[in-house]
């Protein structure tokens, strides 16, 4: 395999990513214990794949999501998008990267600005990246609302977040993430605040979006069952290290690492006896 095709196998690739947090030195701080959130992560995500990242609170899974959308800067290591390093992007190049990589946050009650109507929320990325004229933007917003299952789009256009249920809000957050038709979306526990009947509908929606636009997803969760349902491949992360990567079915049926086995064992279930 030549160097070039090797690079292009993955849409997103992380090489030797390390993220350390050092507490701010202050008068009261006793020591300078650095926290290693991510310890030398190597990972590649294929085009059109839903990739699951499963771990406990504090395992570094959200840090990884934030690094990928460049809300944080890695201490060491390089991130590649389509084979091009994006770690040190600035200015216009960074702007362009941000239009190609989007994020869906955990809590739809906090990630939507209560002062902005649904249309303003979804218009914002279009305005920032100066896409289309007013009419085209309007059409695009209506169309995106209907894609995420909020139809007719006109009915939701002028509403505000408080007029929507939790599931509808998360649909708006998804609409905001896909309106620029990005290549890669980081979904950070998008359903952990929602009921099971709503969560399953959103999973179906994410799969539909993947199939329609051939988008790639990183799905961050602590729920192995959800990851199994939605994802093609799963990585299990524990204390900043990826301990196991495999296809979703293999991870569940044939776990290798003791931590993965433990995660499977503690999954609540119906034990009738």
């Amino acid at each position: 395999m030549t160097e070039l095709t090797k690079k292009n196998r993955f849409i997103i690739e992380l090489k030797g990513i390390v993220k350390e947090y050092s507490p701010q030195k202050s008068f009261f701080s006793k020591c300078d214990n650095r926290v290693i959130a991510l310890n030398s992560i190597d990972l590649g995500i294929k085009k059109g794949e839903i990739f699951g990242l499963v771990g406990q609170s504090g395992s570094g899974k959200t840090t990884m999501g934030r690094l990928l959308v460049k809300l944080e800067q890695a201490t060491h290591g390089t991130i590649f998008l389509n084979g091009n390093p994006v770690t040190n992007l600035t200015g216009k190049a960074l702007n362009n990267y941000r239009s190609r990589v989007q994020m869906i946050f955990q809590d739809p009650y906090q990630s939507l600005n209560p002062y902005l109507s649904i249309s303003e929320t979804i218009l914002e990325p279009l305005n920032v990246h100066k896409i289309g004229n007013n009419d085209q933007r309007y059409e695009k917003v209506i169309h995106t609302l209907e894609t995420v299952g909020l139809s007719p789009g006109k009915e939701y256009y002028d509403r505000y977040p408080h007029q929507l249920s939790g599931g509808q809000r998360q649909r708006v957050a998804i609409a905001r993430a896909i309106v620029l038709e990005p290549e890669f979306i980081v979904a950070d526990e998008p359903t952990s605040m929602l009921d099971a009947t709503i969560a399953i509908q959103l999973f179906r929606l994410l799969t539909q979006i993947r199939d329609k636009f051939n988008m790639t997803f990183l799905f961050i969760t602590h729920n192995l069952a959800a990851a199994k349902y939605l994802c093609d491949r799963i990585a299990v992360i524990h204390e900043g290290n990826i301990v196991e990567i495999n296809t979703a079915d293999e991870i569940i049926q044939n776990p290798q690492h003791p931590y993965t086995k433990k995660l499977i064992q503690v999954q609540p279930g119906f034990h009738f006896n």
Partner: protein
């Protein structure tokens, strides 16, 4: 012995749109030393029931009708003064740790001691300290962490401290409202085991509220499934989860993701939330129900007895005979 029995309880909220009946005509009972789980989606009224059992309903809420019998007294008519005598002592609540149930400016030990001294003002300091140590051992927090502040605790430890606080006066009945919702699966597993172990050891009665059916199945012997302020199905864990009869229970179970297989996962269409203001006699689930009956939205559903313990609230009289 029945420790708690609720009869035809309705609770309403005074809202801008008018009276909202969050809990509509529900009845259930709990035997001493047993556990009862309430499961349903957000907004179905399960927390309102928990708050009513603790006498902590918000100011715009009121018990419209019905009775809450606990140890021979009717709690629905209690004054605040009467509540103060039994809240924490006879009935205690395990709150969700994420909901800031601990006061950030007091040490954890002090906060739990307060629960003890409030109900036993004559207890000597030594005895209070002994009791604190017992409680910390029971929930498996090292005694050395007693004088820490809440921010020094991890999420799981905070939840343990909140459990210790609820157990401070050895209550007869404990109401646990989503105690593991904010925790990840590994800590959740520890806390659920802890709750089960303590419930057995102290022979307490437990009401466990959660939106997660598997968590309820893990802890409780009997289950009430709630939808839009009503109990729609109740029975033992096996009856409700192995042979569900109400269409809503079936939807809830079918959309639950487990590790076993996801071939029979059912994705419901977008669910409408029924309007709970005003008077509506028809079946509240009828807008989302896949049953073919035409009159469900008008006819009042009734209880259908399936076994001596298992019953469902539905218009479909043939429910018990049909194969699920």
């Amino acid at each position: 012995m029945t420790i708690l029995s609720v009869e035809n309880l309705s609770i309403g909220y005074n809202t801008k749109k008018g009276l909202l009946t969050a809990v509509n005509n529900i009845s259930f009972s709990l035997e001493h030393g047993r556990s009862l789980g309430f499961v349903g989606e957000s907004g179905c009224g399960k927390t309102t029931i928990g708050m009513a059992l603790m006498g902590l309903l918000p100011e715009n809420a009121a018990i419209l009708s019905g009775k809450i019998h606990f140890s021979g007294e009717d709690l629905s008519r209690f004054t605040e003064k009467q509540w103060r005598n039994i809240r924490g002592k006879e009935i205690a609540m395990i709150f969700q740790a994420a909901m800031n149930a601990l006061n950030p400016v007091f040490r954890v030990g002090e906060q739990i001691a307060e629960a003890i001294t409030t109900h036993n003002p004559d207890l000597s300091t030594d005895k209070v300290n002994d009791r604190l140590k017992t409680l910390f051992n029971m929930v498996e927090i090292p005694e050395s962490r007693m004088s820490d502040f809440p921010h020094e605790y991890s999420g799981g430890m905070k939840q343990r401290a909140i459990i210790a606080m609820a157990l401070a006066c050895s209550p007869k009945l404990v109401v646990a409202d989503e105690p593991t919702t904010a925790l990840d699966v590994i800590v959740q597993d520890q806390i659920l085991k802890e709750i089960k172990k303590i419930q057995k050891a102290m022979n307490m009665s437990l009401i466990f509220i959660s939106h997660d059916i598997a968590v309820v199945a893990e802890v409780c012997e009997n289950i009430c499934v709630m939808y839009a302020g009503q109990i729609v199905e109740m029975g033992t864990k096996q009856e409700v989860f192995k042979s569900p009869k109400h269409p809503y229970t079936k939807t809830l179970l079918a959309s639950y993701l487990s590790l076993d297989s996801d071939e029979d996962i059912f994705v419901p269409d977008m669910m409408e939330t029924p309007d709970l203001t005003g008077i509506n006699t028809g079946c509240r689930f009828s807008v989302n129900c896949n049953c073919k009956s035409k009159n469900c939205s008008k006819d009042a559903p009734g209880w259908i007895d399936l076994t001596s313990t298992h019953k469902a609230f539905c218009c479909e009289q043939g429910l018990g005979r049909k194969q699920s």
